[in-house]
C-alpha cells in the first residue's frame, strides 16, 4: 500500500467488508448445502480472527506512518491519522457484526 495514495485511507474498512461478505456467504453455504454446522461456526470465528489480524496490521502501519510524519503537519500525517482511527472503528465493527455467531445457532 503506497502511503501517498487515496486507497490507503479506505484500507482499514476493507477487512470489515470482506469479513462481512465471507461470514454471510459461509452461513448461507452451511445452511443451504447442509454442511457441518459446528465446522461452519468454527470457520466464521476463524474468519473473524483473520479480519481482526488484518485490521490490527493496518492500524500498526498507520501508527508507524503517524510516528514517521510527526513533524510533518501535511497530508501524509492526516491520512495516517485517519487510518489509525478507521482501523479502530473497523475492529469494533468486525467484533460487533460477528458477535451473533456465538449467540445463535447457524441455521434456525
Amino acid at each position: 500500500m503506497r502511503r501517498s495514495r487515496f486507497g490507503w485511507i479506505a484500507a482499514p474498512m476493507l477487512p470489515w467488508a470482506l469479513h462481512f461478505v465471507a461470514i454471510y456467504s459461509l452461513q448461507g453455504l452451511v445452511c443451504a448445502r447442509g454442511w457441518n454446522q459446528v465446522g461452519g461456526v468454527v470457520g466464521m470465528l476463524a474468519l473473524t480472527v483473520l479480519a481482526w489480524g488484518a485490521t490490527a496490521w493496518l492500524g500498526a502501519l498507520g501508527r508507524r506512518a503517524l510516528a514517521a510524519a510527526a513533524d510533518d503537519p501535511g497530508a501524509t500525517r492526516f491520512a495516517a491519522r485517519l487510518v489509525v482511527w478507521l482501523s479502530l472503528l473497523s475492529a469494533v465493527a468486525i467484533l460487533f457484526t460477528a458477535l451473533p455467531v456465538v449467540l445463535l445457532a447457524p441455521c434456525e
Binding site: S4, F6, I9, A10, A17, F20, F78, A93, F96, P100
Partner: protein
C-alpha cells in the same frame, strides 16, 4: 508559482477572451449544445425540483385516498400506480439527480476549478436523465403506469402477474435515467481527485467534496446491482428467460437481494451529500471553522462502507435464518455510530461558535430534529423482533420519511437558500422563506408523526385502504390535512427561490461571509469561474486570505492567459494537490444530445416490441459515440504547456494522472461491480438448486471449442502486452501489427465462444441455469467486442497522428479496458465451464 502583474487593459482583453471561450453559444442551438457545468448543474437542479413537485402531487392523491377508511379517491390499481410512481420519482428522479446537480454546479467552484473534467459526459448524463424521466412518465399516456411498487418485487412484476407494459416502462425508464447517476459518479470522482486547486491537499478539501467523493464511490458499487437486476427482469419479461421464477429454478429472493444491495446504500447516497451540505453551512453560520474535520471525514468513509452491510434489513421477514439476520441487524445498529459522530461534530461547532440564525440555519435546525428522530426509529427497526412487529406497517413509512426528508430534503433546502445568492446574485426574501420553513417543518411533523401510531396500531402500508376497526381514521385525517400544509410550504420555497432570480434584493458577493472557495467567485458567476486558478493555503481560504476574492478576477496567475483558445483546467496530484498537468477540455457539442436520443429511440423500439429495429439502433449509436470521441482532445497540444506563473506542465495526453486514466479506472470498478452482481446471481441460483446443471439443461464438459476460446483470450492478452511495450518504446512499426493481431484474436474469440456455449447448455427459456449461463457468456462477449472496437478506434487515431509514444493516454485507456475485459471473460469462462465440473 508567483502571479505576474499585468496592466488593466491586457487583463480586460484576457477576461473577454476567457468569456468567449467558456460561454455557451447563443440561442436555442447553443442551449442544446451546452456542456458547461454551471448550465448542466442548474438543469439538474431545476428538473429535480420539477420532479419533486410531480412526486409531491402524487403523494397528495395518496394522502387523500388514505384520509378516511373506505375512501374512493383512487381505485386500487390507480393507488398502486401512484404509490409506485411517487417512490420512484422521489428516489430516482429527484433525490439522486438533484444532489448530483448541486455537486456539478458547486464542486468546481469549491475546489477552484473552471469546470468538471468531462463536460460532454455531464451533458450526456443530463439528457439521459431527462429522457429517462419522460420515458417513465409517458407510461401514463398509454395507461400503462407501473404498479408494482418502487421496489418492483417479483413475481408481482413478472409477465404472469403484470402482463401489461407497466414494469417495462419502469425497468427501462429508470435504468435510462440511472446512466446519469453512473456518469456523474465517474465525473465527480475524477473532479475531486485531480482537478483541485494547487495547495488544496486532502486536509484542506471542503467537506462537501469529501462527501461527494465517498458518495460517488458508493454509486459506483451500489447502482450496478440494480442495473443488472433491471436488465435481468426485462430480459425475463421480453424473451422468457427465467431468473426469478421458482418453477424453473429461479428465485424471487434474488431480485430482492440485488435490489436492496442497491437500495440500502442508496439511502446513504442521498444522505451523505446532504451531510456534506450541512458541513458547509454550519461553520459559516457558527462563524468558526468546523470542529472535528478529521472525525467527519472518518465518519463519511466508514458510512460509505458500513451502509453496504445493511441491505437484508429490508428482508427481515422473508424467512432467512436468524444468524444471517443478526449480522445485518448488527451492521444496521453500527451505522448509527459514524452518523452520530457527524451530528456531534456539528453540534460542537455551533456550541463553540457564535450562531447566526438565518434561513439556511433554520433548515439545519429542522434537519437536526427530524433526522435524529428518524435515526432513532431506524435503530428500533434494526432489531429483528421489533421489525417483525412493525414490518409492512405505516411505522416504517414514518421512519423512512423522517430519515429521507429529514436527512436529505431539509439540508437540501438549507443548501438551496445558502447558495441562492451565489447562483442568482440576489438575496431570497426573509419573510417568505421563514414562513415557508415553518409550514414545511410543522406540516411535515404533523403528517408523519401520527404514522408512527397508526403503524403500531397495525395500519398496513402499500394498501389502498384500511378497516374501520383499527380506529386510525382521525390520525390519518390529521396526516392528510398536514400533508397539504407541507405541500404549500414546499411550493412556497420553490416560488421564493424562483422569484429570487428576478425580484431579489441584489446581494454583495459572499453575503454570509463564508470561508470556502466558491464564494470567491465574482458575482454574477462567470462561465469560467476563476480568471486564474487560485492557490489555496488553508481549509477556509477566504478567512485565511482576505484578498483572495479580489485576485480571482486577475488573469496574472495560473492559466490566466487564454492563448491556446481552448477550455483549460489545471490538473493536480490526488493527495498533495501539486500542479501536474494542463487538461484541455471539450467544448459545446451536439453529440451528447444525439447519442442520448439514439438510446431513447432504441429503448422506445424495444418497449414497443420492435426488437430488430431496436438492435439496428446500435449501429448509429456506436457511430455516434465514436464520432464524439474523435472530436475530443487537443491534437496539436505541445508536450509542455505554459500554465502561467512561470509553471510549465505537460498536457493530459502525456500525463500519468490524466483524468481519462482515472475515468477508465472508475469505469472498470463500476463494470466490475456489474459483473460481480451477475456472478453472485449465478452462485445464488446454484445455492438453491439440487443438481448443477439440473438434468437436461446442460452438459458440463470441457470441449475443444471452449478451450480454444480460452486460448484466444490468452493470445489476445500476450499480443496486447507486447503491443503496449512497443508503443511506449516508440516502435510504431512493431506496435501496429501487434495491436492489430490482438484485435484479430479478440474477434476470433467472438466467433468461437458463443457457439461453444450454446452447444453445451439448453435454450435459456428451459431453466434458470441455462438463462444465467447465456447471460454470463453474453456479458463477456459483448465486453470483448466493445474493447476490440475501442482498440481499433485508437489504432486509427494512432495512424492519424493523434496519439503517439509521447502522448500515450488514449492507448493506455484502450489497453486497460481490453485487459479488463479479457480477465472478465476468463472469469466468466471459469464460472461457466470449470465450476460445474469441479463441484460435480
Amino acid at each position: 508559482m508567483n502571479p505576474v502583474v499585468i496592466d488593466a487593459k491586457e487583463n480586460a482583453r484576457r477576461l473577454a477572451e476567457l468569456d468567449r471561450i467558456w460561454c455557451n453559444e447563443p440561442g436555442l442551438v447553443g442551449q442544446l449544445r451546452a456542456v458547461n457545468h454551471g448550465t448542466v448543474g442548474l438543469r439538474f437542479i431545476a428538473a429535480g425540483f420539477a420532479f419533486l413537485l410531480v412526486g409531491g402531487l402524487l403523494a397528495m392523491f395518496i394522502r387523500l385516498q388514505l384520509a378516511w377508511f373506505d375512501a374512493e379517491v383512487l381505485d386500487p390499481q390507480r393507488f398502486n400506480q401512484f404509490v409506485t410512481l411517487h417512490g420512484t420519482t422521489m428516489m430516482f428522479l429527484f433525490a439522486v439527480p438533484i444532489m448530483e446537480g448541486f455537486a456539478m454546479y458547486l464542486l468546481p467552484k469549491m475546489i477552484g476549478a473552471r469546470d468538471l473534467p468531462f463536460p460532454r459526459m455531464s451533458a450526456f448524463g443530463w439528457w439521459c436523465y431527462l429522457f429517462g424521466g419522460l420515458f417513465l412518465y409517458s407510461s401514463l399516456l398509454f395507461d400503462a403506469a407501473p404498479d408494482g411498487g418502487w421496489f418492483m418485487y417479483v413475481p408481482l412484476t413478472d409477465a404472469t402477474f403484470s402482463p401489461g407494459k407497466g414494469p417495462d416502462f419502469w425497468l427501462i425508464g429508470v435504468t435510462f435515467a440511472e446512466i446519469a447517476a453512473v456518469t456523474a459518479a465517474v465525473e465527480l470522482i475524477v473532479a475531486v481527485l485531480v482537478t483541485r486547486a494547487p495547495g488544496m491537499d486532502i486536509r484542506r478539501m471542503p467537506l462537501f467534496a469529501w462527501a461527494i467523493l465517498v458518495t460517488a464511490f458508493m454509486i459506483a458499487f451500489g447502482f450496478p446491482p440494480l442495473i443488472l437486476a433491471s436488465i435481468l427482469l426485462e430480459i425475463q419479461r421480453a424473451f422468457g428467460f427465467v431468473f426469478f421464477d421458482p418453477a424453473l429454478g429461479g428465485d424471487p429472493l434474488l431480485w430482492q437481494h440485488l435490489f436492496w444491495l442497491f437500495g440500502h446504500p442508496e439511502v446513504y447516497i442521498i444522505f451523505l451529500p446532504a451531510a456534506g451540505v450541512v458541513s458547509m453551512v454550519v461553520p459559516t453560520f457558527a462563524r468558526r471553522p468546523i470542529i472535528g474535520y478529521t472525525w467527519i471525514v472518518l465518519a463519511l468513509v466508514a458510512t460509505g462502507f458500513l451502509s453496504f452491510g445493511l441491505w437484508v434489513h429490508h428482508m427481515f421477514a422473508v424467512g432467512i435464518p436468524l444468524l444471517a439476520l443478526a449480522f445485518f441487524s448488527a451492521a444496521s445498529m453500527a451505522v448509527a455510530i459514524p452518523t452520530a459522530i457527524q451530528v456531534f461534530a456539528w453540534i460542537a461547532t455551533l456550541w463553540s461558535g457564535r450562531p447566526w440564525l438565518r434561513v439556511p440555519m433554520l433548515h439545519i435546525f429542522g434537519f437536526f430534529v427530524v433526522f435524529v428522530l428518524g435515526g432513532l426509529t431506524g435503530v428500533m427497526l434494526a432489531f429483528v423482533p421489533f421489525d417483525w412487529q412493525a414490518h409492512d406497517t405505516h411505522f416504517v413509512v414514518a421512519h423512512l420519511h423522517y430519515v429521507l426528508i429529514g436527512g436529505m430534503m431539509f439540508p437540501l433546502f438549507a443548501g438551496l437558500y445558502y447558495w441562492l445568492p451565489l447562483a442568482s446574485g440576489r438575496m431570497p426574501s426573509e419573510s417568505t422563506s421563514r414562513t415557508a420553513f415553518w409550514l414545511v417543518f410543522i406540516g411535515f411533523n404533523l403528517t408523519f408523526l401520527p404514522m408512527h401510531l397508526t403503524g403500531l396500531l397495525g395500519m398496513p402500508r402499500r394498501a389502498y385502504t384500511y378497516p374501520e376497526e383499527l380506529g386510525v381514521q382521525w390520525l390519518n385525517l390529521l396526516s392528510t390535512a398536514a400533508g397539504f400544509v407541507l405541500a404549500v410550504g414546499i411550493i412556497a420555497i420553490l416560488v421564493d427561490a424562483a422569484l429570487c432570480f428576478v425580484h431579489g434584493r441584489r446581494g454583495r458577493g459572499n453575503p454570509w461571509r463564508a470561508g470556502t472557495l466558491e464564494w470567491a467567485v465574482p458575482c454574477p458567476v462567470p462561465n469560467y469561474n476563476f480568471a486564474s486558478i487560485p492557490v489555496v493555503g488553508a481549509r477556509y481560504p477566504l478567512w485565511h486570505d482576505r484578498n483572495l476574492a479580489a485576485r480571482t478576477v486577475d488573469t496574472g496567475g495560473l492559466l490566466g492567459d487564454p492563448r491556446s483558445g481552448r477550455r483549460e483546467l489545471l490538473g493536480t496530484g490526488p493527495v498533495s494537490a501539486k500542479p501536474e498537468q494542463v487538461v484541455f477540455l471539450s467544448s459545446s457539442s451536439w453529440w451528447p444530445l444525439v447519442c442520448a436520443m439514439l438510446i431513447a429511440s432504441m429503448l422506445a423500439f424495444f418497449i414497443a416490441g420492435y426488437y430488430l429495429l431496436s438492435a439496428a439502433c446500435l449501429l448509429p449509436l456506436a457511430g455516434g459515440f465514436l464520432a464524439w470521441m474523435w472530436t475530443t482532445g487537443h491534437r496539436h497540444a505541445p508536450l509542455r504547456v505554459d500554465a502561467g506563473s512561470g509553471l510549465s506542465l505537460p498536457p493530459q495526453s502525456a500525463s500519468r494522472n490524466a483524468p481519462g486514466w482515472w475515468a477508465v479506472v472508475i469505469t472498470m470498478l463500476i463494470d466490475g461491480s456489474l459483473f460481480a452482481s451477475l456472478v453472485f446471481a449465478y452462485f445464488y441460483l446454484w445455492l438453491g438448486a439440487g443438481a448443477w446443471p439440473p438434468a437436461g439443461t446442460g452438459d458440463p464438459r470441457l470441449t475443444w471449442g471452449s478451450l480454444a476460446a480460452l486460448a484466444l483470450l490468452a493470445a489476445c492478452w500476450a499480443c496486447s502486452h507486447f503491443a503496449g511495450r512497443a508503443f511506449l518504446g516508440g516502435r510504431r512499426a512493431r506496435h501496429v501489427p501487434l495491436a492489430a493481431f490482438a484485435i484479430a484474436t479478440a474477434c476470433a474469440y467472438l466467433l468461437v465462444y458463443p457457439s461453444a456455449v450454446t452447444g453445451l447448455v439448453a435454450v435459456p427459456q428451459a431453466h434458470a441455469y441455462a438463462s444465467v449461463v447465456w447471460i454470463l457468456a453474453g456479458f463477456a462477449v459483448v465486453h470483448v467486442a466493445i474493447a476490440a472496437l475501442i482498440c481499433g478506434f485508437v489504432l486509427a487515431r494512432v495512424a492519424c497522428g493523434h496519439v503517439d509514444g509521447a502522448r500515450p493516454l488514449e492507448w493506455r485507456v484502450a489497453l486497460a479496458f481490453l485487459r479488463y475485459t479479457l480477465v472478465q471473460a476468463a472469469i466468466a469462462w471459469a464460472v461457466v465451464h470449470l465450476f460445474p465440473v469441479v463441484q460435480g
